[in-house]
């Protein structure tokens, strides 16, 4: 099993600032926007982006939620018991511009589940997708990101591993091959 560094901490930092600026360009003061991190791994990225927007770009208040999609997945009963994570949505998304945030976009099935799950919290005006890593050519569904950090060509049995300082001690993205 080998692993290759795809993104270093410095590169991740540059990308995060670029993504923050792209969000800023489209959402300005974030008054009608809700950032929604997809559990389990998207929440670290969502948290970081919200902090960058507040600290470096003077955005005052951002609605930030964490959405768990376990009960909305399409592979229930097809393998291991699916363990759920916490959903923390302290606001309704009714008429809000929602941005889904996840670390890796792969088959698109998680985002499909998230599109259903978010309906429990109202009817958003629009939904966009931001992802740090976009694995090209591996989609099972017609889902594409609006904001992407880096596009990666990874073959079937390779895995993209995203590490976050807040959780794993370092910012780094690996491509792991079996």
């Amino acid at each position: 099993m080998g692993q290759k560094v795809l993104l270093t901490s410095k590169e991740i930092n540059i990308i995060l600032h670029r993504l923050a600026c792209q969000l800023l360009e489209n959402h300005l003061d974030f008054k009608e926007t809700a950032l929604v991190g997809i559990q389990p791994r998207g929440v670290f990225l969502a948290d970081r982006l919200a902090n960058i927007l507040k600290a470096d770009y003077g955005v005052k208040d951002i609605a930030l939620g964490f959405l768990d999609i376990t009960f909305f997945r399409d592979d229930f009963g097809r393998g291991e018991i699916l363990r759920a994570n916490t959903t923390k949505m302290d606001f309704l998304v009714e008429d809000k511009k929602v941005v889904f945030i996840d670390d890796v976009l792969y088959t698109g099935r998680s985002i499909r589940a998230a599109l259903t799950a978010i309906q429990s919290f109202g009817r958003p005006r629009s939904i966009e997708l931001l992802t740090l890593i976009d694995r090209r050519f591996s989609r099972h569904l017609p889902i594409q990101p609006n904001y992407r950090g880096r596009q990666v060509d990874a073959i079937g049995d390779e895995k993209v591993k995203v590490m976050w300082e807040a959780n794993d001690g370092e910012d780094r993205v690996y491509l792991v091959s079996k």
Partner: protein
Amino acid sequence: MSVNHLLGIKYLNKRDITLIMETADNFKEVINRSIKKVPTLRDVTIANIFFENSTRTRLSFELAEKRLSADVVNFSAASSSVKKGETLIDTVNNILSMKVDMVVLRHPNPGAGIFLSRHVKSSIVNAGDGAHEHPTQALLDSYSIREKLGDVGGKNVVIVGDILHSRVALSNIFALKLQGANVKVCGPRTLIPKHIESLGVSVETDLRKALEWCDVANMLRVQNERMDISYFPSTREYTQQFGLNLPLLNSLKKKIVIMHPGPINRGVEITSDVADSDQSIILHQVENGVAVRMAVLYLLASKIN
């Protein structure tokens, strides 16, 4: 989950209980949303087969099933062919041949669920079998204690009343002991089974002493319908010795948590002012029942294939 059926707490291990509690946390969040429903079990059909009366448990299971988007069929013995002489296995197999995946069973005979699980191809959830077990009640009781006090382990819990005829008591003893709680039972000697100490619980016949000791008091109903002989002289005497009233509760040194599995006989085992006091978590138990049953059904349904 280490099991394919929920027949009793006796068959679970500590990890199963932890998994059920944590999953119930997720479902409690779901049922407090404005849209209280998730699509997880949309291709699962569940039959609620009740050979005994029930309001709370049956409603709670049905709500849990519907909030998981399962298809639900209800069956009660009173209006069925059981009256025409059909056996339990035949009844259930007929229901299952209509493509039912899970059975929630309440039956007056102890072990009915266990018997059925050996003879039919379906996941069985025991919703009460005679005076044997009522596992989901014990799970929701533990969940409610955990929610109120943070943890079940190390807590002192007293179960008061008709221990002899109570499936709630037995399931609770198993569940509480598994999680490391200290358990006492309290009631008239005639309503405490012989050798109950072998389950790791102690017996106390003085209600005041038991209450002084405990963090949580679970007050059980006197099950008159299961009593073939007279176990105590009169209801009035039972209430005087084992009924919980407000003066007694207020005279205790610490604020204990009051639970009751329902249905309450107000003025017998517990007075109205205690049942409705801020120390009572009786209605939280009912709310948590739906979340816990959702967790149980979710975890068992994921093993069907």
